[in-house]
Structures are given as structure tokens and as C-alpha cells.
């Protein structure tokens, strides 16, 4: 197992992260706040809350301070800071909405302001891991409740009555005994002088009085701007005197520039300059690959100029990377024992003694994020100061990395976060912002670095490539008595540390060692695999191959024993219980198992709910089939039923999708539905078309013609979403990612039901045409 020594290398994956021991004192000093309070880890005492989360273990923990997040203007406008990055989940609306709810602000008089990257001030800002609501529901409520209390105290003082007699209601404070009222704006100046109440003493609203939370009536704050073209994404930033750049990067990971001839490029009208960009050796986290930049008066000229460059590269150690050969390596490794990560009973012996052994080897190739907005960043570096505008998921990490890359203090770096035109994990890596910073410094002018779609596909941080091999042993009665799962895939940790051959705890914790089935003999293993390109987080990460393998295997067992898929699935899940896998340091998405156990009652519940609402077992026309899958990821539980139709030429369509999600306490059901609808499309895209292949070290795809995604004409006709109502104290869990993993196996199980063909290798491509 690899352990990463630098705690900041794997931002967001707390298994590797040591909590920063920033003293309370030093944070207060940094803020220049007296009387305000800032919490470093651990954030919440058990007494204060019904549950604990892993929020305090994130870099810089959580800051609960109304003075940082809320301001009230004399005209009554309440400004609330959104400190997470908006990439389509609705978080820029949801978190401020929580504050507004608790402080009794009227949403129509609230403005949301995007935080710049500053984790000492705002707490952790890594918008990844489907964590925002789960880590911030309570802190945002506390911030809102503090602000409300301060407004109430100010009003009580003004009227000379006890604070217990006044109450904030819809943007004003009311003294009902006398009928007096004061608007938030009228109280703003006095409230600012009030001391911030202690967290323990705060009174949170009774959920039955919620006006916004859990209702889904509030549209996203950017809705009007998005529909009128005013919304500002990374690419839309324009500074005076700004230059436009595109960069030719090494086509092979770890390759280097040998020489370049700029003459032809410089003849292109609009091209102003051609210059070399510094690159770092592979692997070096998110540092730029280097190459040659073409600087022009507009992006079109820069692209044309780059096409005219003559470039010679040294491909380096990965020049032979070949996807066909590599797949064989992974398959062979999966057939031999690997590092044992979870062992219960004796799977070897049980498999030997089994009446029947079913073996499945499941393959998923590399995938590219292809967020609709390719990476792009604007930088303005002047002397030892840098200002960045970029669509980044990790504004705090970006700030650190820019400072390090330029060799200037972090305090001199400002990172402005624009809207993100999709993220999916790609924009957790700030290489594009670092490129812009380096170029701006060299040029002495503001510069925008635009990645083309081809750059995005050729030089990204890809989803891993994997073989998941499962052997299931059945006894005479058809009961599963043994389960051996070997997962072979290059690890994301290989992008941080050379020589990594095993998966990291956060990867094995995504559906491998936390597998919830009630089986007596279990072995989960991880044979070695070395990386030959940059591997990175891709929405849902290792849960994609794991759910595909595990849930396909359920379908295969049902198929072999003549059982109904859903019944088989429920039998394997077994009794309602808390699963405690025999694993050292179960990752559990960074969450304590007390608050976020592996709860098979909840897993069963989403299966049963989707089966009922999705009419499992309904009669479907000839050529159609139903498939089901369930998966727990990001501490949420999701089950999906897919109906497919396969015509006699093998053309695959999806008439209907039904998904049930249990994500605990939730904020905005309308956005949950949109995430799940989108997850079905992303799941279908990767199942049907998703494949990045390498030959001679180079990615063979280039744009949406050969790396296809689902378009409207082959998207599911209807996707229905059912949300499990939470219990009174059920902690919130992830929404952005968990929808994707169950989709592909439900689809594949449905294809089997429709055609009798079992697909074990994605993408489906032409496999149904044969």
C-alpha cells in the first residue's frame, strides 16, 4: 500500500490527510476578527449535534462565523457567501439557502456572493466527493441561527425588552406583545455590534417551520443569467490588455519538448508571440506538462498559430503505452492472487468446495470528463502578486499551488472562482490555472489560456482503466457461500507519487471492501497495476467499475440460478443490519461509521422503493428488458431500474429509467432530481460509448466525434426519481456522484433480459450488433 507523505498531495481524500493543526488563535489573528469565532477541527461536539461528520478533518476544517458569511445592508439586502464551486449541482444556491432559512431572511432579498479561494477565512472549499451538503448543512444552519440571534438581540436592546420576547420572521424582527417591528436593514448596524453567540447555545429552527429547506421551490440563483448569456464562466473573463493563449503540450504523458519552429505560426494574422512553457516531470500532481504557447489577439488566431507550429517531442517512458496490451496485463493480474484487503471466512476453501462457481471479468476503459467548458483560466501576475480567474473546484488548493509554482507567498495570490461549465472532477486539478499564471508572469500581461476540446481529451487526468474479477461460489441450494473480488487498476495516487502500484484506501473503499452482501466467505484483493498516464478523479471514481462488476455479478447469479434479479439482490444484501467489514481503517468516504454506517436496511429500502414505483416485473414489449442495480456510494443509497429496447439490428434505446435515492436529510429535492437525471445520461454515455484508448503512448480520440456522449436523440425517454423521506436525524449524504454507478449495471442486466447477451466489457459499442 502506498502512503502519501505530503498531506496536501491528495486534497480531499482525508485518509491521507493529516489534519492541519492550525491553532484557534492563529486563525483568529488571520481573520482580524475579535469576538467572532472560528472552529478548526473537530468542528462539532456530539452534544451540540445529532451526528458527527468528517468535515473537521478536511484541510482547514469548517468555519462557523456569521461575520464571514453574512452581511446585511441598511436597505435590507442580505448578502450570503457561497464558498463552494458551482459546477451544476446547485450548491451556490443550496448552501446560502440554508443560511437564509435559519436566519429568517426572505430569499427574494438575498444576494449570493462567490467566495474567493481562502480556506483560512471560509474553511475547506474543495468542491468534490459529494460533500457540500453533508458537511455544511449544520454549519450553515448555525451561521444563519447566529445571524438571526444577533438581529434579535439588537432589536430587543432597541426596544428595551428581553431578547426572549422578540422573534425574527421573514426579514424583520417582531415584538408581538407590542406589535413593534424592525426590518433587518434597520437593525443591520446594531446587530453588527452584537457579540457572536456560542454554538452550543444556538436555537436552530424546528424543521416543521422550514420555508425553503426540503421544498424544492427555489430556482438556482444563476438561472436568469444562464438563460440570457450573462452568466460568467472561466472562459468569459475579459481583462483589458489580455492576451489569448493556447498551448501545444507533450502528446505522451511524461514526454518532453525537443525543439520547435515558430516561424510559420508567427505568420498567422493575429499571432503575436510563440514561447516555451515550463513543464514538470511526470508525476507531479497538478503541475503543468509544459510545451509551447502561442500568444495572440484572439483565441481563433492562437489555435491557427498552434496548428502551424513544427514540434519535436521526446515521448519518454510511456511512449509504448498501448491499451490493447495493457488490458491483457490487467486481465492476467486479475487471475492471480493480490494484496488481500478484506478477509472474512475462507473464500479459497469455500470456492474449492462450491457446487458451482460463477466467474465474471469486467472491463471499463479510461474515460475523459469532457466537461462542456474545457479547462480555461485567466491570470494577471504583476511582480510578486497574482490574480487568477478560473473555474476551479478547489479554490484553496489552487491558491496554494499558484503560490508555490510562482514562488510567492500565498497571501499574494487571489483566486476568483467563476461558474464552472461542468467539473466532474477534472477541475479539481488546477494545472490550467498554473499555466496561465506562468505565462502571465513571463508576458508581463494578463493572459487567458484556453484548452481546446482536443487538449482536454489528449492531456487530461483520465478515469482509471480497470479489470474487476469476481468469483462467486454457490452451494447446492443456489446460495452464495463465497465471494472473491479482485480489482486491478492504476491508482489516482500514481499522479502524486511515482511507482504507485496499489490503489489508495479511498479507491478500495468505493465498492470493493465495503461490499455489503451477507456472504460467509469473502476475499477482496488488489493485484498490482502501474500507471502510464495521468489518472484522476472522475465523477463517482472507482464506484463506476465496482458497481458495474458487483451488480452485473448479481445479474449473472440470478441468470445461472433462474431467479428474479431483484429477489436475488435482496437475498444477497441479506438481513437488515449494520455491516462492519473486516478492513483496517475503512475509508467510508471520510465519515465516521457511527453517523454513516453501512446500513443494509436502507440499501434494501431503495431496492424495494424503486421496484414498487418503477413497476419491477411489469410486462414489457418484445425486444425490451428490465434490469436493476443498487449501490451505496458517498454514503448515499441508490437503486436504479433501466428498461432497454434492442431492435433486431442491435440498436439500443432506453425508454424508461427509475431511480430511488436515500441521501438522508436534503435541502433541494428539485436539484437532487436534476442530478439523478443527469447521472443517468452520464451512465448511459459511459456504458454505450465511453472509451479512451492509447497507442504508442498517445490518446487516440480527439473530440466528440470519436469520444461520443449521449445526445438527446438517444437519451432515456423518461427518468423518474424517487427520494426516500429522511428520518428526523438522518445525516445528509452525497447527491452529485452516487447516481452514476448503478446505471451501467442496471442497463447491462436489462440488456441480458432483453437479448440473452451478457456484456462484461464497456463500452457496449457494437457488441449488440454481432
Amino acid at each position: 500500500m502506498n502512503f502519501i507523505d505530503n498531506p496536501r498531495k491528495l486534497r480531499g481524500f482525508e485518509k491521507h490527510i493529516r489534519v492541519e493543526k492550525v491553532s484557534r488563535r492563529s486563525i483568529l489573528k488571520g481573520l482580524g476578527v475579535t469576538g467572532g469565532f472560528v472552529l478548526a477541527a473537530p468542528v462539532m461536539s456530539r452534544q451540540a449535534l445529532a451526528y458527527e461528520t468528517g468535515a473537521g478533518k478536511m484541510p482547514h476544517g469548517v468555519v462557523v462565523d456569521p461575520r464571514v458569511f453574512v452581511s446585511v445592508a441598511p436597505d435590507g439586502i442580505v448578502t450570503i457567501i457561497g464558498h463552494r464551486s458551482e459546477m451544476g449541482t446547485g450548491v451556490r444556491t443550496s448552501l446560502p439557502l440554508i443560511v437564509a432559512e435559519e436566519m429568517e431572511a426572505d430569499w427574494s432579498r438575498v444576494k449570493v456572493q462567490q467566495a474567493h479561494g481562502d480556506e483560512v477565512k471560509f474553511g475547506n472549499q474543495d468542491t468534490d466527493g459529494s460533500r457540500s451538503t453533508r458537511h455544511y448543512l449544520i454549519p450553515m444552519r448555525q451561521i444563519g441561527a447566529s445571524a438571526r440571534t444577533m438581529l434579535e438581540q439588537a432589536a430587543a436592546k432597541r426596544w428595551g425588552v428581553p431578547a426572549t420576547e422578540v422573534k425574527a420572521v421573514n426579514h424583520e424582527v417582531v415584538h408581538s406583545a407590542s406589535g413593534r417591528k424592525l426590518g433587518f436593514g434597520e437593525l443591520a448596524a446594531d446587530a453588527a455590534k452584537e457579540s457572536v453567540p456560542s454554538i452550543e447555545g444556538l436555537k436552530l429552527k424546528n424543521p416543521k417551520d422550514f420555508r425553503y429547506l426540503g421544498k424544492g421551490q427555489v430556482g438556482i440563483v444563476d438561472l436568469h443569467d444562464i438563460t440570457t448569456g450573462k452568466a460568467q464562466y472561466g472562459a468569459d473573463v475579459r481583462l483589458s490588455g489580455m492576451k489569448y493563449a493556447v498551448i501545444a503540450r507533450p502528446p505522451v504523458t511524461g514526454g518532453k519538448l525537443v525543439k520547435f519552429e515558430p516561424d510559420e505560426a508567427l505568420k498567422i494574422p493575429g499571432v503575436e508571440k510563440v514561447m516555451q512553457v515550463r513543464g514538470w516531470p511526470w508525476p507531479s500532481k497538478f503541475q503543468p506538462l509544459g510545451g509551447v504557447a502561442v500568444i495572440a489577439r484572439n483565441t481563433g488566431a492562437a489555435i491557427k498559430g498552434r496548428d502551424a507550429l513544427k514540434l519535436t517531442w521526446d515521448d519518454g517512458p510511456n511512449g509504448k503505452y498501448d491499451s490493447v496490451a495493457y488490458r491483457k496485463e490487467l486481465e492476467e493480474a486479475s487471475r492471480k492472487p493480490g494484496l488481500v484487503l478484506r478477509k472474512e471466512g475462507d473464500a479459497d476453501a469455500a470456492l474449492k468446495g462450491a457446487d458451482k462457481v460463477i466467474v465474471g471479468e469486467y472491463y471499463i476503459p479510461h474515460l475523459a470528463h469532457v466537461s462542456m467548458e474545457p479547462p480555461v483560466a485567466v491570470a494577471d501576475v504583476k511582480g510578486d502578486k497574482a490574480e487568477i480567474w478560473a473555474p476551479v473546484q478547489s479554490p484553496g488548493g489552487t491558491r496554494e499551488d499558484v503560490a508555490k509554482t510562482l514562488g510567492i507567498p500565498e497571501a499574494n495570490v487571489t483566486v476568483n472562482v467563476t461558474l464552472l461549465g461542468g467539473g466532474f472532477g477534472r477541475k479539481s486539478k488546477c494545472d490550467f490555472a498554473l499555466e496561465a499564471a506562468l505565462l502571465s508572469k513571463e508576458l508581463g500581461a494578463p493572459v487567458k489560456v484556453q484548452w481546446t476540446r482536443e487538449d482536454d481529451i489528449h492531456n487530461g487526468f483520465l478515469h482509471t482503466v480497470s479489470v474487476e474479477r469476481i468469483e462467486a461460489g454457490l452451494d447446492k441450494s443456489g446460495k452464495v457461500i463465497a465471494w472473491r473480488h479482485r480489482s486491478v487498476a492504476p491508482s489516482i495516487a500514481s499522479t502524486f507519487a511515482a511507482g504507485t502500484v496499489h490503489q489508495a484506501p479511498f479507491e478500495i473503499g468505493m465498492g470493493l471492501v465495503d461490499m455489503p452482501f451477507e456472504i460467509a466467505n469473502i476475499s477482496c484483493e488488489n493485484p498490482e497495476a502501474a500507471a502510464h498516464t495521468r489518472i484522476g478523479w472522475f465523477r463517482s471514481v472507482s464506484n463506476i467499475p465496482r458497481a458495474f462488476a458487483v451488480q452485473s455479478m448479481v445479474g449473472e447469479i440470478a441468470q445461472a440460478t433462474g431467479r428474479d434479479q431483484k429477489d436475488m439482490l435482496l437475498e444477497l444484501i441479506g438481513s437488515p443490519r449494520i455491516v462492519k467489514p473486516n478492513v483496517k481503517d475503512l475509508w467510508n468516504y471520510g465519515e465516521p461509521q457511527d453517523s454513516y454506517p453501512i446500513d443494509t436496511a436502507r440499501l434494501r429500502k431503495v431496492v424495494e422503493l424503486v421496484a414498487e414505483k418503477g413497476e419491477w416485473g411489469r410486462k414489457v414489449p418484445k425486444g425490451h428488458g428490465l434490469g436493476i442495480a443498487v449501490h451505496r456510494s458517498f454514503v448515499s443509497y441508490i437503486a436504479t431500474i433501466v428498461e432497454v429496447a434492442v431492435d433486431d439490428k442491435g440498436k439500443l434505446t432506453v425508454p424508461r429509467v427509475d431511480t430511488a435515492i436515500d441521501c438522508g436529510t436534503y435541502v433541494n429535492p428539485e436539484r437532487i432530481a436534476s442530478q439523478i437525471e443527469g447521472a443517468a445520461i452520464m451512465g448511459l454515455s459511459l456504458a454505450k460509448y465511453g472509451e479512451i484508448t492509447f497507442k504508442d503512448g498517445k490518446v487516440q480520440q480527439k473530440n466528440f466525434d470519436d469520444f461520443q456522449v449521449v445526445r438527446m436523440d438517444d437519451s432515456p425517454v423518461v427518468t423518474n426519481v424517487y427520494i426516500v423521506p429522511p428520518g428526523p436525524d438522518t445525516p445528509p449524504s452525497g447527491v452529485g456522484e452516487p447516481g452514476v454507478p448503478p446505471f451501467a449495471p442496471a442497463l447491462i442486466n436489462a440488456i441480458f433480459a432483453a437479448t440473452g447477451k451478457r456484456i462484461r466489457s464497456l463500452p457496449i459499442g457494437k457488441q449488440l450488433e454481432a
Binding site: 458551482e86 459546477m87 451544476g88 449541482t89 446547485g90 430556482g219 438556482i220 444563476d222 438561472l223 436568469h224 444562464i226 438563460t227 440570457t228 448569456g229 450573462k230 460568467q232 464562466y233 472562459a235 468569459d236 475579459r238 493575429g270 489577439r297 484572439n298 483565441t299 481563433g300 488566431a301 489555435i303 491557427k304 469532457v370 466537461s371 462542456m372 467548458e373 461558474l419 464552472l420 461549465g421 461542468g422 467539473g423 466532474f424 481546446t452 476540446r453 436534476s674 442530478q675 437525471e677 443527469g678 447521472a679 443517468a680 445520461i681 452520464m682 473530440n703 466528440f704 466525434d705 456522449v709 449521449v710 445526445r711 438527446m712 436523440d713 438517444d714 437519451s715 432515456p716 427518468t719
Partner: protein, 150 residues
């Protein structure tokens, strides 16, 4: 010197006549509502309306639109209240929103040509516009809503 009317305003360009309209709009004219997603007419993010037709600005040169009338998302309606825009908001279509200007322009062009498109006609006409976030179900519903009156 090329003259082109953009959102009702006369603009001129004396640089490279082959410059894609997309980059002219975004980088030279400062109209950043039109987006870059692929540069190869594969994704529709750059869709604008030229005269009455939806075109991909990434493969249309400034020269190609000389003397013609270009409408971008900024010019679709003075207050952003074109029926398609209103329907988009009513249905809460966008996730990240990056593809949506192109989607809206494509939908507006479709409705000019066919005011009451069927389910299949919507799906076909809109299939040149990729939404990586996967808002298709809502896009379809919003086009339908816009065609039946918001």
C-alpha cells in the same frame, strides 16, 4: 473591411476574414454568451442564429456572415423573455448552464421553423447540441412548453 450586423448593431472587422465567427463574437466583440465546446460543429455550444437559421459559429467565418444579421443569446430578447428563455426557467433546465445558450438558440430557431414540433422532431432537432450534464429531459419539456405557450 467586413461589415456584419450583430444583435441589430453594425460591427466591422478588418482582421483575418477566415476568423471563426465564434472567436470574433467572444474575443473581439465581447459577446461571451456564445460558448466554445468543440470547435468542430459537434456540440452546438456556439449556436447562433444567422438571418433565420441556427448555425455553428465555430465553423462559420466572419466572412461567411458579411452583410448578414447575426443574433446571439444576448440579442434573442431585450429582457431575456423570449418564450424559450421563459420556458427554460419555468422547467429549471440548466445544471452547469454552459451548453444552454446554444440549446436555447437552437430551440428558438426550431420554433421559428416549426412552431409545434412533435416529441420526435424536438429530439431530432436538438440532438446536435450536447449537454454533458444531461439536461435533455428538461430541454425537451421546455421546448414543448415554449411551443404551447408559456
Amino acid at each position: 473591411m467586413i461589415k456584419v450586423k450583430i444583435n441589430g448593431q453594425e460591427q466591422s472587422w478588418d482582421g483575418d476574414p477566415d476568423l471563426p465567427l465564434l472567436w470574433f463574437l467572444r474575443d473581439e466583440a465581447g459577446l461571451t454568451g456564445t460558448k466554445y465546446g468543440c470547435g468542430q460543429a459537434l456540440c452546438g455550444a456556439c449556436t447562433v442564429i444567422v438571418d433565420k437559421e441556427a448555425v455553428r459559429a465555430c465553423i462559420t467565418s466572419v466572412n461567411d456572415v458579411a452583410g448578414r444579421e447575426v443574433t446571439t443569446i444576448e440579442g434573442l430578447h431585450p429582457n431575456g423573455d423570449h418564450p424559450v428563455q421563459k420556458a427554460w426557467r419555468q422547467v429549471n433546465v440548466p445544471q452547469c448552464g454552459f451548453c444552454q445558450a446554444g440549446q436555447i438558440m437552437q430551440a428558438a430557431a426550431l420554433l421559428m421553423d416549426n412552431p409545434k414540433p412533435s416529441h420526435d422532431q424536438i429530439r431530432e432537432a436538438m440532438s446536435g447540441n450536447i449537454c454533458r450534464c444531461g439536461c435533455y429531459q428538461r430541454i425537451e419539456n421546455a421546448v414543448h412548453l415554449a411551443s404551447t405557450g408559456v
